[in-house]
């Protein structure tokens, strides 16, 4: 099947060093590689996305990527209605031959590695997890991070706090909660949030750890190196380009909708960011764990529900 264009819809703008930016940049890169045009519809919010979907569908792109959990009811419906292929997230069961495919973008494997890294680098033996909410993909990473920490250093303490139920833009809340975690002894913070993550970053930059030393930050999805002031320890990077590229290739091969896509350590679509803060020996140890995961020796199962996360972190 011919494919000349794809469209991607994101709930927020593609400048968040996170979910939206990775999605849009991934789509653009995939488009470039495959020689198809990419239509971007960003900042659509989480409300009523159907009109935009229908409008895009009218332009008959070869594929519509609905890059938000909130779009995964609407997109297949409109896709079916308009006869356009769609890709949605986090819905493995929605697969429909020639029509709907899912990509579960979960960085849990990477988060596990981040946990290993944190456990090896914490001076205080306490690490913190801050999230701005509890959507499934963040739960999966929180849980895997906690597992990674525990597996590496069973005596480590994990402190966990959520800013608010939907506090994606609550930067002040991010800072306040992060400060509490630092006060509770954490010297490494694993942070997940959109706008609020900048508040976390600021807390880390301005609050010394209990021992007076530096607190460091492990980010997710994007790469904040360009705006780092020396506190970024690492990041669980997501690269969606291979996912989108595979989709386009499957469409070309008339195989779309026959399989789910994901990101994983194996093909480096999930990777841990190496920064100068990480000593080489520790990095090598972490990379060894990566090999174990890739080879299946260590198994990281995603846990998408908040309860699992709470169970893992409350065992302190």
């Amino acid at each position: 099947e011919e494919i000349t264009s794809i469209a991607i819809l994101t709930p927020e703008t593609g400048t968040d060093f996170g979910w939206n930016q990775q999605g849009i940049e991934g789509a653009k890169a995939a488009g470039e590689a495959e020689g198809v045009e990419v239509i971007v519809a960003e900042n659509l919010g989480y409300g009523d996305v159907r009109p935009t979907l229908r409008e895009l569908a009218e332009e008959k792109p070869g594929l519509i990527i609905a890059h938000a959990g909130g779009y995964n009811t609407a997109a297949p419906e409109i896709g079916t209605e308009a006869g356009v292929k769609v890709a949605i997230v986090d819905s493995p069961d929605a697969l429909k031959a020639g029509m709907v495919a899912d990509y579960t973008a979960s960085g849990h494997e990477g988060a596990y590695l981040a946990g290993v890294l944190a456990a090896k680098m914490t001076r205080s033996g306490t690490v913190g997890i801050v999230t701005s909410g509890e959507p499934p993909s963040w739960n999966a990473q929180s849980a895997a991070f906690a597992e990674g920490v525990k597996a590496t250093r069973p005596d480590a303490v994990i402190r966990y706090a959520v800013i608010g139920p939907a506090a994606y833009s609550d930067a002040a809340g991010g800072k306040r909660v992060t400060e509490s975690l630092i006060a509770a002894g954490a010297d490494i913070i694993f942070g997940q949030g959109n706008g609020s993550s900048f508040g976390m970053l600021q807390a880390i930059e301005t609050t010394p750890a209990g021992d007076g030393g530096k607190v460091t930050f492990i980010d997710v999805i994007g790469d904040k190196t360009p705006i780092d002031k020396g506190y970024l320890l690492s990041s669980v990077l997501w690269n969606l380009t291979p996912v989108y590229q595979a989709m386009i290739e499957d469409i070309k091969a008339d195989a779309y909708g026959s399989r789910n896509y994901d990101i994983n350590l194996k093909d480096d679509s999930v990777a841990l960011l190496k920064t100068d803060q990480i000593p080489d020996d520790i990095w090598d140890e972490v990379m060894a764990v990566r090999e174990q995961i890739v080879s299946g020796e260590v198994k990281v199962t995603p846990k998408f529900d908040a309860d699992s996360v709470h169970a893992l972190v409350s065992g302190n």
Partner: protein
């Protein structure tokens, strides 16, 4: 390792202040405006205006003090529109209030998009003033008496406003402007000037609250970062029945609930976060259910004053 170390308790208490101060400023501002008869639904917008302007100036001039000033000015600027449309021209206060909130949300998000969205500049830590003696009290001292000057200013405003409302002619005039503007007018006072003053004062306070969020609270500006604090401010003002002290209590309650929910989570108490977040609102509803009594609002609240109209 025990969790409830001094450091942690200090952080929690400091968290109450950090979450409570913007609410306190918003509540005091709204109270001022409501007392004078202007239902200011636009304070969310004024807060965002203050948050943006404060951050912008603090970042550009590298002066925290100028930043706070600019924050107050940013809120004042949005309030000036409210004065023009609602006080001077007498347009519907709810319509304009919501319009100003939407407009400020859109404008600040646009400006942010253009200026900051690739760099997300962050400010250095805000210097604090240590109050000798008091700051040495264990736990309470570092959390309350070694703070940003704006915190002291906000707290000082509580008795100041109580004094203003009860002890000055201006206070009486403000109350008259809200309760029976025609009476104030016929006494030779300029109703519109009083209302304008109150709304501008409200804007400056609320803007300062917004600036506190962006400069001290977060150290960055992100779109929509006030996320409903203005509306809680409206609720606080109405609950307080005209008394500044009650605004302080309300803001402290909300701040304590927010900080307390963090404490519960950090301690690993397993309650769904949504449930924890409902606590302050549920607490207020419970208080209203048990001690529910007439929340008397100024009788001309929301109504434009036009001389001689009947």
């Amino acid at each position: 390792m025990t969790l409830f170390t001094d450091t942690f308790l200090i952080a929690l208490l400091a968290g109450v202040v950090a979450a409570g101060v913007p609410l306190l400023l918003a509540g005091l501002g709204e109270q001022l405006s409501e007392k004078a008869g202007v239902l200011n639904v636009g304070i969310e917008g004024m807060m965002l205006g203050g948050a943006y302007a404060g951050f912008l100036v603090a970042w550009a001039t590298e002066s925290i003090g100028l930043g706070f000033l600019a924050g107050a000015f940013g809120g004042l600027l949005v309030a000036a529109l409210m004065v023009l449309f609602c006080v001077r021209l007498g347009l519907n206060q709810v319509v304009i209030g919501i319009a100003l909130t939407l407009g400020a949300e859109g404008t600040t998000a646009l400006l942010h998009h253009v200026q900051f969205s690739r760099l997300y500049p962050r400010l250095p830590e805000v210097p604090t003033w240590r109050i000798p003696g008091l700051a040495d009290i264990p736990i309470v001292g570092p959390a309350l008496f070694d703070r940003e000057p704006v915190v002291y200013l906000a707290l000082a405003l509580v008795p100041l406003f109580a004094w203003l409302y009860r002890r000055t002619h201006l206070g009486l005039a403000i109350q008259a402007a809200g309760d029976k503007p025609a009476a104030l007018d016929s006494a030779g006072e300029n109703v519109l000037a009083i209302r304008a003053l109150a709304v501008l004062g409200c804007g400056a306070l609320v803007g300062l609250g917004g600036a506190f969020m962006s400069i001290a609270g977060a150290g960055v500006f992100v779109p929509f970062m006030t996320h409903g604090n203005g509306f809680i401010g409206i609720v606080l003002a109405m609950l307080a029945r005209g008394r500044p002290l009650w605004v302080l209590l309300g803001a402290a309650l909300f701040g304590a609930c927010l900080s307390g929910s963090t404490a519960l989570q950090v301690a690993g108490v397993d309650i769904p976060t949504d449930v924890v977040q409902m606590l302050p609102f549920a607490a207020v509803m419970l208080v209203l259910l048990i001690a529910g009594r007439n929340a008397k609002l100024p009788s001309a609240l929301g109504a434009a004053y036009v001389r001689g109209e009947r």
